[in-house]
Symmetry: C2
Subunit: 191 residues, 2 copies
Amino acid sequence: MVRRNSERRAALVDAAIEVLAKEGARGLTFRAVDVEAGVPTGTASNYFASRDALLTQAGARVYERFQPDEALIARQRAATPDKETYTTLMREVVGRVSAFRTGYLALLELRLEATRRPELRVVLTERVRADVDANVAYHEQSGLPGDATAVRLLYLALNWLIVEQLTLPDVFSEAERDQLVAAAVERIVIL
Amino acid sequence: MVRRNSERRAALVDAAIEVLAKEGARGLTFRAVDVEAGVPTGTASNYFASRDALLTQAGARVYERFQPDEALIARQRAATPDKETYTTLMREVVGRVSAFRTGYLALLELRLEATRRPELRVVLTERVRADVDANVAYHEQSGLPGDATAVRLLYLALNWLIVEQLTLPDVFSEAERDQLVAAAVERIVIL
């Protein structure tokens, strides 16, 4: 029963992500989540104390789903830690994050909603800061070239590249985006 | 009469920007714009053929209001075209764009709305591409160091820095943001 409950909760959080991406933050109601998840009306409101709780858990879940799988991490650890590997890693990150299109769009909706909801802002700020810190820590133990400033600058540039790709995909062509990732690593990562 | 009409139209478009930032794209109705502008109900629907027309004009108006004034352009043209001037210019851009907070947030709302409205996507794509091209052209005739790739990479990195500042301002401190702008120019602009 506990297991079934936690599965249903996860399904509701995943449904909330889809609603956020499709309908925007203002479209996120318990009712819309019930419909998206295909469960009886009233289910979501039984699982979450408030709309804010659901928003927060949706944000956390997106970050969880962005994580690379074990095989990918192992492959990255085995590669020679040079700039070429760094570029490959960055291309994988951009590819993985933008492949979960609705997740990234949901995060943008949550950021905009955070400008209106101070409590959500606090939770998201912690989550994003933890993400940036984790990137810096991963880099440190990876042996890859460059410093923490490079990690932060790449975080900035690649996030907007993903925004561009997911919201206005024709501003840059795929080849241009690919070149921009390579140029970003080439210039920002100082040996 | 024509003049009064165009003033009122501009006031309605500016009101639409505020509504977008405050209420999100889904909150943008003719009614909400009338309330925000303090005009009688029905006014906005007299001035704009559709909600899409209003969205499009709001986007164009934000870009217009982002433009630097003549005095600033003259000052920039008179400065020695070196990396230090480049850094000052980038800080001015970040400062000017983030100072029009509601305008930038409205553009993010429009980008997300564009994922749902193909026509809006076409118009915004053209506008953003024109903006990137204008940056490249401005750089070319400025005599500033670096190439078009640097202009594009700075565009990416600084846009996300502004997103960070406007949506989750405590992820980076003001000093950290300032350092990131300087480091971005230092590394990305290759002499």
